[in-house]
Amino acid sequence: MTTHHNTAAAGSQPVAAVSGVTVRYGATVALDDVSLAFPAGVTGLLGPNGAGKSTLLSLLSTARTPRSGTVALLGEQASGRARTERLRRRIGVLPQSFGFYPRFTVLEFTEYAAWLRKVPAAQRRERAVEALRLVQMDQHADRRMGALSGGMLRRVGIAQTMVNEPSLVLLDEPTVGLDPAQRVGFRSLIRQLGERCAVVMSTHLAEDVAHVCDRVAVLLAGTVRFTGTVAELCALPSRDASPDGAGDTEAEGTAVEVDGTAVEAGYLHLAGAEAAAI
C-alpha cells in the first residue's frame, strides 16, 4: 500500500498534522502509519465506512492518542494534559452523531458548549449569540432543542463548534441525514466556516468534497491513498460507475481512480485486490 506523505497545501503552515500514526481496535488496524497535514481552508477526508476517517478525526480532536506516531495541532504536539486542554479550547468538534439535550433552549445549549470549551464566563453569552447569528439560528435562540428540525440541529451543531472561536473545526459526516436542499445550504455554511478557520470534514460523499473542500485526502482501509486538491482528484483517470448503479445522482459521471480505487457517484468503490483486502 502506498502512503502519501505530502502536505495538503504546500507552502503554507499546516494547522494540524499527523505523522506516522497507527491506531488499532484490537486486531483491526484503523489507521496504518498515516501521515497527513491539514492547512487552512476546508479539507475533506473522503472514504467509505470503515476507512478510518472518524478515527483520524478523533486523533485530531485529541479524544484518542495513537499507538504510534505523533499528532501536532496548532503548532503544538497534542500530548500532556495541560497542552491537550489548551488545544481543546481552540478546537471545535461536530461528531457524526450529534447528541443534544432536548430540554435546553438553543441559546442555553450553545452557552453550555461554550462552558465546555472553557470560554470565559463573561463572554459566553455574547459568543453564543454571535455563533447562532453566524448560522442564522439567532431568531430561534429561545426554542427548545427538541423542537428543531434536522437541518436546524446541524446549524446549532456548527454554532457550537464556533462558540470558542476555534482555529480548527472538525466535522464528522456533517451532511448525513440531510435532505438535498438542506445539504446545499449546509455546504454553503461549511464554506463560510472555512473562511474563518481551518476545517477538516470527513465524508463518504464525493459530492460534498467537490462543493465544499479546498483539499481532499482519500482514505481506504486505514491508509491514505490520495491527497491534493479536488481538481487534482478529478483529473485522475476515470473509471466506470459501480456495477450496481448505486450512487448520488447529483454527482454522476465524476468517477475517478485513486490507487486502484474508483471514486464515483458519491461513493468509493474498491477495485481488485483492494476490495479483497478490505
Binding site: 479524544a63 472553557k118 464566563a121
Partner: protein
C-alpha cells in the same frame, strides 16, 4: 453561574426535589408539639431534619442525579462532550452541583419549618448547625454517587438502584449495629435530650469525609473514559488524602459508653432552672425553660401528694444534671413537649428509691405472689398518693391491702423503712399484720 442555573432549570433533579419538598413539608408540619420528641429542642430538631433529609430525600435525589447523569447516554452527547476542554470530572461536578443545590433548597425549607416550630415552643434560641451541615454533606455524597453511577453505566434502569442502595444501606446500619458504616455514612437516628450537644469536631470530620469522597466518586467515570480530559492527579491526590485521613479518623474514634458517637455531654449549667414547692424540687436544663410553668405546677401536685411521706426522693434533676447525694433522683424528660401530667407522673415514678448498686438483684416477695418486693413498695406508695398502678393479681392485691389497710402511722413507718432497705439492696420489712 448561568450554566449552573440552566442545569438546575433543565435537569430532572428539580422534580425530585419538588416531590421531596412536598413530602418533607407535610412531615415537618403534621406533627403535634405535644406529641413530638423534637419540637422544642434545637439539637433534636436539627437531628430530625438531618435524618429525614438523608434517609428519604438523599436516597431519592441520588436516584434523580443518576438519571440526570445518564442523559449523556440517552442523548448520545458523550462523543461530543468528551472532546471538550472541560473534562468529565468538571462535567460531572456541574451535574452534581445542580442536583445537590436542589436538595439543599428543599433542605433549607425543612430547616425553616422545623426551626420555626421549635422556636414556637422553646423559650431559648440555640439552633444546632453541625448536624445540619453533616446532613447537607451526606446528601452531597449521596448525590455524587448517583451522578457517578449514572455517568458510568449506560443503563436506564440503574438510576433507581442508586436510591435503593442508600436506603438499603441505612436499613443495614439500623439492623446490624457495630459496623463502621454508621460512622462513615451517618444518618443519625438518636434521641438527644437537653444533656447532649453535637460532637462538633467529629461532625466536621465527617463533613470533610463525605465531601471528599463525593468529589472522588465524581472523578471515577472520567478516569474510565480515555477520550475525556483526565482529572488533575494533584487534585485527586489531595481529595484522596482528605478522605483517607477523615474516614480513618471516623473509624478510629472511640467513645466511652453510653455516650453517643455523634454527641457529647454538655457542661453543667451555672444555674439550673429549679422549681420548688414544700420539700419537693425539680431542676431542669436552662434550655427547657419553656417547661418551667408546667414543672412548677407538677411540683406542687407531687409535693401535695407525697405529703410528709419519708424515705422517698423529693429532689428531681433532669438527666445529665449533677445532683447532690441523698434522696435525689434523675428525671428523664422524654419530650420537649412534656405536659404537667407527664412531669407529675415522671416525678412520682422517680420518687421511688432505687438500690445504690446497679448489681442489686431483686428480692422476691412470696406474699405478693412471687413479684419483686419493689413492685409492692411502688403499689403502696401509689395507693397513698392516689395514683394506682398496674394490677398484679389477687395475691398481690391481698399483700397490698395488708399495708394500705394498716393505720397511716404504721404505713408511714413501713414505707420509710422499706425505702431505706431498698436503697441498701435489702428485702423490704415484713408486711404489717
Amino acid at each position: 453561574m448561568r450554566v449552573l442555573l440552566t442545569e438546575m432549570r433543565r435537569g430532572e433533579a428539580k422534580w425530585a426535589a419538588a416531590l421531596m419538598g412536598a413530602v418533607g413539608v407535610y412531615y415537618f408540619t403534621a406533627e403535634s408539639p405535644g406529641q413530638s420528641d423534637w419540637i422544642g429542642w434545637w439539637t433534636q430538631t436539627s437531628l430530625q431534619v438531618q435524618l429525614f433529609s438523608v434517609i428519604v430525600m438523599g436516597s431519592v435525589m441520588s436516584a434523580a442525579a443518576a438519571w440526570g447523569a445518564g442523559r449523556a447516554f440517552r442523548h448520545r452527547t458523550r462523543p461530543w462532550a468528551d472532546t471538550a476542554a472541560r473534562g468529565g470530572w468538571a462535567q460531572a461536578f456541574l451535574l452534581w452541583l445542580a442536583a445537590w443545590l436542589w436538595s439543599l433548597i428543599a433542605y433549607a425549607l425543612f430547616v425553616v419549618i422545623a426551626f420555626s416550630r421549635t422556636a414556637g415552643v422553646s423559650d431559648v434560641t440555640e439552633p444546632a448547625w453541625t448536624p445540619l451541615l453533616l446532613g447537607a454533606s451526606m446528601m452531597g455524597l449521596q448525590t455524587a454517587l448517583g451522578v457517578a453511577v449514572g455517568s458510568a453505566l449506560p443503563s436506564r434502569v440503574i438510576a433507581p438502584f442508586a436510591g435503593i442502595f442508600w436506603y438499603g444501606l441505612f436499613v443495614v446500619v439500623a439492623f446490624v449495629p457495630g459496623t463502621p458504616l454508621d460512622k462513615l455514612f451517618p444518618a443519625i437516628d438518636e434521641f438527644w435530650s437537653s444533656e447532649f450537644a453535637p460532637n462538633t469536631t467529629r461532625m466536621l470530620t465527617a463533613v470533610a469525609w463525605c465531601l471528599a469522597l463525593g468529589l472522588l466518586l465524581l472523578a471515577l467515570p472520567a478516569l474510565r473514559r480515555r477520550a475525556t480530559l483526565a482529572p488533575r492527579p494533584v487534585a485527586l491526590a489531595a481529595l484522596a488524602l482528605v478522605a483517607l485521613v477523615a474516614g480513618g479518623a471516623l473509624v478510629a474514634f472511640r467513645t466511652p459508653a453510653p455516650d453517643s458517637y455523634w454527641a457529647v455531654r454538655k457542661a453543667q449549667p451555672a444555674h439550673p432552672l429549679c422549681a420548688g414547692s414544700g420539700g419537693t424540687t425539680l431542676c431542669l436544663w436552662p434550655e427547657d425553660r419553656h417547661l418551667l410553668p408546667r414543672a412548677r405546677a407538677a411540683v406542687r401536685t407531687v409535693d401535695a401528694r407525697l405529703g410528709t411521706l419519708g424515705g422517698l426522693n423529693r429532689s428531681f434533676y433532669a438527666a445529665g444534671l449533677d445532683r447532690p447525694a441523698g434522696d435525689t433522683a434523675e428525671l428523664s424528660v422524654m419530650s420537649p413537649g412534656e405536659s404537667e401530667t407527664d412531669l407529675t407522673e415522671a416525678m412520682l415514678s422517680a420518687a421511688l428509691p432505687q438500690p445504690a448498686s446497679p448489681d442489686c438483684a431483686p428480692h422476691i416477695l412470696r406474699e405478693s405472689g412471687g413479684y419483686p418486693d419493689t413492685f409492692l413498695f411502688e403499689a403502696v406508695v401509689r395507693d397513698r398518693v392516689g395514683a394506682p398502678g398496674d394490677y398484679f393479681g389477687e395475691e398481690f392485691g391481698r399483700a397490698l391491702g395488708r399495708v394500705t389497710r394498716a393505720p397511716r402511722a404504721v404505713q408511714d413507718v413501713w414505707i420509710e423503712r422499706a425505702a431505706e432497705r431498698i436503697r441498701a439492696c435489702e428485702p423490704v420489712p415484713p408486711l404489717p399484720r
